[in-house]
Amino acid sequence: MANRDQPVLEARDIEKWFGPVQALKRVNMSVYPAEIVALIGDNGAGKSTLINVLTGVLQPDGGQIFFQGQPVHFTTPHDARAIGIETVYQDLAIAPHLDAVANIYLGRELLRPGLLGKLGFLDRKRMKEETAQQLSRLRVRIPDPERRMSTLSGGQRQGVAVARAVMWASKVVIMDEPTAALGVAQAGMVLDLIRQVRAQGIPVVFISHNMPHVFEVADRIVVLRLGEVVAELDPQRDSIDDAVALMTGSAKAGAATEVA
């Protein structure tokens, strides 16, 4: 496939320091169209930091990000969102006092047509309808889209957060530990959502340290250890044991494809 050559999103030689701690060491990673890339690593490996750099939450201290082959500089999360990269952050980033509709449209509120819209009046009806459609299309079931998020279960909240990302992403969806706090059925729902996104041709970067989840959905696995990409695995060929060994550093990247 031609687009195999052209990553949608690419990180080249990314470095990030927190004071004396180097959280990312010349990290290279590419995301190609319609694939699910899993990013795995032990706690503190730098997964969230890499995501934050890719989405404009943090500025890299070195290296370059490319979007569809062009160098880009994201100075705020808004910049990344503006070109179609949506993120489900590990800490959820939902407003618990607001309902699902308000959260899905947060920062992108639909306004009423005409003068009322100019005065800032919200088009609640349209937002509500489109939220209901989106949620049912993704089979995210919540009791009432106009109930406060704080009254929903963890899985339901995560469903809304994922639905929001999927609703607005046109190029890439990034999910940081979306299944971490979930039960089996709820995690299954989120994994299903990830496959639905890929089916629309949109690549997903999926971060997790739940190996069964990773091996269930990923097309490709990037292993991060102490701020470095130590290997790239093929879930068809490599095993969970390989992945764990690489994550914890008990094996050098021998069995798997070594990263240059």
Binding site: R81, A95, L122
Partner: protein, 350 residues
Amino acid sequence: MADARTASAQAEGRTRRELMRRLNFQSGWVFLVLLLLIAVFTVREGGKFFDPVNFRNIALDASQLTLLAVGATFVIITAGIDLSVSSVLVFSAVVGAKVMVRLSGSPEEVRNYQFPNQDIGIPVGLAVAVLCGLGWGLVNGLIITKLRLPPFIVTLGTLGMALGAASIISRGASVPYVPYDVQTKIGARRIFDFMPVLVVVTAVIVVIAIIALHFTRFGRYTFAIGSNAAAARRAGIDVDRHLLKVYAVSGLLAGIAGAMDIARFATASVSTHSTDNLNAISAVVIGGTSLFGGTGTVIGSVIGTFIPAVLRNGLVIGGIQPFWQQVVIGAILIVAVYVDQRRRAAEERM
């Protein structure tokens, strides 16, 4: 037939729930407290209390505090606080009154209570009062967002600064020689020969605030920032800009209340309103707005303003020491916060 009836009953229930949710009317019990107070005083005092003219006076007395409470509602929903409003009110009144006197005639003329230029002096003086409030609000907002300092500290600072500045400008005394037309023609003006124009202005502002908070993007951002500022920021909302606006609104409303002070009393003095900031905050909290941010209503704050106003009025009419009002309001405040915490805990558990 029966199906249609259940369907319509369901629809009705849904509409009612929808309405409750839109007004976010968590403060239902406070409204009952207000109704109870009115009922008790009506039974005890009869027509002396339950009288349109008496209600009008209550509304007039509560109008300035209502404006401060409306501003405080927006601020507290963002999980902020504005302690400065009482001093900002006084500063606005003093500066507005000074400007009004200066523009209305020469020093000799005003000392003889002649105000040849009052047609300019009065409107400009009132406008200056309003703008002073807006100015202090912007100062608060800028310091909080640019220097990243806690609103409590910043507005505690400006509380002292505005009062000190007002005292310097007025030399600690009431501003003299304010043209009394501001009182007779504006402060005491009534609409339909009944409703004081100040009450009407307050009511209009309350309605605008309700609409802005519950039906516009401005209100949506206010809730979102108080609920989770980091989430709001990641969603692309310019949080600092919005907070600046919210503190500006709080200051602006304090400025309008300051202009009302000039109109009501034809003077301005630094020795008044000193606890209005805390009274406004307590009204907001009694009205069901959470000090932790993310939730609240304007209508609740209005009710929270009227509870002490009605209580004081009824006690005075009944010949009971009005100081009881402070005791009772303090207790209600504590109960209100307890109820809020219980509700939050219950919600988290679900």
